[in-house]
Amino acid sequence: MSGGTPRARPFSKAAREALQDTQLRRNLARATSTIREKRLRATEELPDWQELREAGRAIKAHTLAHLDHYLMRLEQNVVARGGQIHWARDAAEANAIVQALVSETGVREAIKVKSITTDEIGLNDALAAIGVHAIETDLAELIVQLAHEPSSHILVPAIHKNRAEIRALFLEAMGIAPSELSDEPAELAAAARRFLRAKFLEARVGISGANFAVAETGAVCVVESEGNGRMCTTLPDTLITVMGIEKVVPDWRAMEVFLQLLPRSSTAERMNPYTSFWSGVRPGDGPQAFHLVLLDNGRSEVLAHRERRQTLHCIRCSACLNVCPVYARVGGHAYGSHYPGPIGAILSPQLLDSPEADTLPFASTLCGACYDVCPVKIDIPSVLLDLRLRSVERRRARRGRLAALDTEDGAMRLAAAVFAEPRRYQWAQRGARLAQAPFVRDGYLERLPGYLAGWTRTRDVPAVPAQTFREWWRERRGSGGSQR
């Protein structure tokens, strides 16, 4: 991984810890609010932004409905242009393929383009296991790698770090004397540039992910801002690309849509600075061996589900992270996955399949801000609801007969039985009024028991008043009056 594996923990626990980090809170608040405003300007200036979103959604839905066809077409065209295709069912298969390819070259170091897919499969660790050091060349990715931490943002992996922390990491990793490096961003970038330039010139193997692959010609695309990615895809002799199967697009016309949607949504730029395309290999120009590893790793399962398959539309722009009020407060590490924020809350539980990841669909207030900004119109709140249902049912299945003892499960079943019958509901109203009586202070309750205790740690709750609405309605109808 890019230097660290996310810790699998229930979201509420991880979030609680993250909320204590004052530096993180400030960094996130500043960074997300700045990029949020910039994104809004970059999308509002396009009169056809909504039509573009719809086009993006439609292309993705069409491609996924015919995924087998487009993947075969991609394979055909990559091979026709001298590339090689490898199919990987899961992370283990993908890692084994890349390990074998790298071993053949005999190198001890490989340079990497920023890629979440390779983080997802834990490729850096797999390479380390065969004695190969994978060097991250994206500045932010390099920072988190040096810190031995996982990324905390899809686009800005080191969003949780400040410049003093980055300076300390560089001093240690690059062997620079403290007097020779300040914490000025320009100086830090220059230090990273010197460090990486040496690596670029030595490297014989490059490893990348892919943002898109065009089925009609076999062209693979990486979208980045620094140009370091292009160094990795052009300088080495061998290029290995690991790509999720959902990244294929039918044709070049699709790129017209996505190359507008992606930069405006992610970096709020009108045009992306470095957009690299390559097709197979060309003698005397660029890598002489090109391998494309097509990774499933749970994606076919996602595709099989009617409501959830839209998760695969994602083009990893991170706009949903930047507008998410939950992400803005807890940061990426709380999600325990390489895919944080709202998209992570729906993608991770589907890919990871663990009790911890099953807490992620609840890491949202369903406020809907993510859906509104999504450039390919993923209805994240709807998928969250669907995954919440799945999570409850899986918890029941795991607990078997003990499910009856689950506080929430029991309370929800009881509430449903009460609400389904108007008379029971009214008894419950009266019961609550009686039960609360000893605890009411000035019309409020300051402490609630059990499951509800979390509420009153920071909030009061109004007490049930002397007359409910329906009691008032009945009384008023009885007296024939119309007073308020």
């Binding site: 979201f11 509420s12 979030a15 909320l19 009020p325 939950v326 407060r329 807890v330 669909p361 609840f362 890491a363 949202s364 207030t365 369903l366 406020c367 809907g368 801000a369 859906y371 609801l385 919440r388 249902l389 799945r390 999570s391 409850v392 049912e393 929430e408 929800m412 079943r413 509430a415 449903a416 009460v418 609400f419 389904a420 108007p422 509901y425 109203q429 609550a432 019309g443 409020y444 300051e446 509800l452 205790a453 979390g454 509420w455 740690r457 920071t458 909030r459 009061d460 709750v461 109004p462 008043p465 007359q467 409910t468 609405f469 329906r470 009691e471 008032w472 309605w473 009945r474 308020r484």
Partner: protein, 249 residues
């Protein structure tokens, strides 16, 4: 027009004054209302917590209570959003074609109060008087599920005596999210602290919204912190007149 009142369970139980205010406004405008007593809860809490199957009997109960009416109006954007956006899905989850048909027929007739006033009745000036400084919180479900836009503010701007002041970062969620507020109480509280700061920054004495649920959340912190700022449902402001002005309970 047979007009029915949908008073969500928590309004009925905890905020009856918002229900009474809804009655006052609509009757003042000359409408006769019915409150079908079979109604209980729309099931939003169940759905949003993952207990969608448990919510299906509540959908049936809702259809039983309201199916016979021409229009249904409720002082809650969130619960109306639940009915309009989620009920069709729940009906399909039940695999009961009759329920699907009943829900599809009923759902377009269920309205949130401010949209009902502005769009269905075509009224913006409801003859209200409320001489206080008010800031308005546009709740998430009113904006991004029902998309009622500025309808509440259009009504509020026509209230005589009101001093309507802007709320900084108004569109950001207050952190309630139903059971999110207890399952992720710490994150919820962190979000709420920003909303409370915005309300205080606005200088208002009243924070209003079209949802008592979010107001219960915001108001719970305003009260806990003894800020001296109160929360009111929009209906309560619209119900206040020069002859019967709103009075603190």
């Amino acid at each position: 027009m047979r007009l029915a009142l949908f008073i969500p369970c928590y309004v009925d139980t905890l905020f009856p004054q918002a229900g009474r205010a809804t009655v006052a406004v609509l009757e003042r405008l000359g409408h006769e209302l019915t409150f079908p007593e079979e109604q209980t809860c729309c099931g939003q809490m169940h759905v949003n917590t993952g207990y969608q199957r448990e919510a299906i009997p509540l959908v049936r109960n809702f259809v039983r209570a309201f199916g016979a009416y021409d229009q249904v109006v409720a002082p809650s954007a969130s619960c109306v959003g639940e009915v309009r956006e989620i009920y069709p899905r729940l009906a399909r989850l039940s695999r009961d074609p009759e329920l699907v048909a009943d829900v599809d027929a009923l759902v377009p007739r269920v309205h949130e109060l401010t949209s009902f006033l502005v769009d269905t009745l075509g009224v913006e000036d409801v003859g209200a008087y409320f001489p206080h400084r008010v800031t308005f919180h546009p709740t998430c479900h009113s904006q991004r599920v029902l998309r009622i836009g500025d309808r509440p503010q259009r009504l509020l701007r026509r209230v005589r005596g009101i001093d309507l002041v802007p709320l900084p970062n108004a569109e950001e969620c207050c952190g309630f999210g139903g059971t999110f507020s207890v399952k992720n109480a710490d994150t919820s509280s962190a979000m709420l602290s920003s909303k409370v700061a915005s309300v205080l920054q606005s200088g208002a004495e009243v924070c209003a919204a079209a949802d008592n649920s979010c107001l219960m959340h915001i108001g719970g912190a305003l009260h806990r912190q003894r800020t001296g700022v109160r929360t009111l449902h929009v209906a309560e402001i619209l119900a206040s007149t020069e002859t019967h002005p709103w009075r603190a309970p």
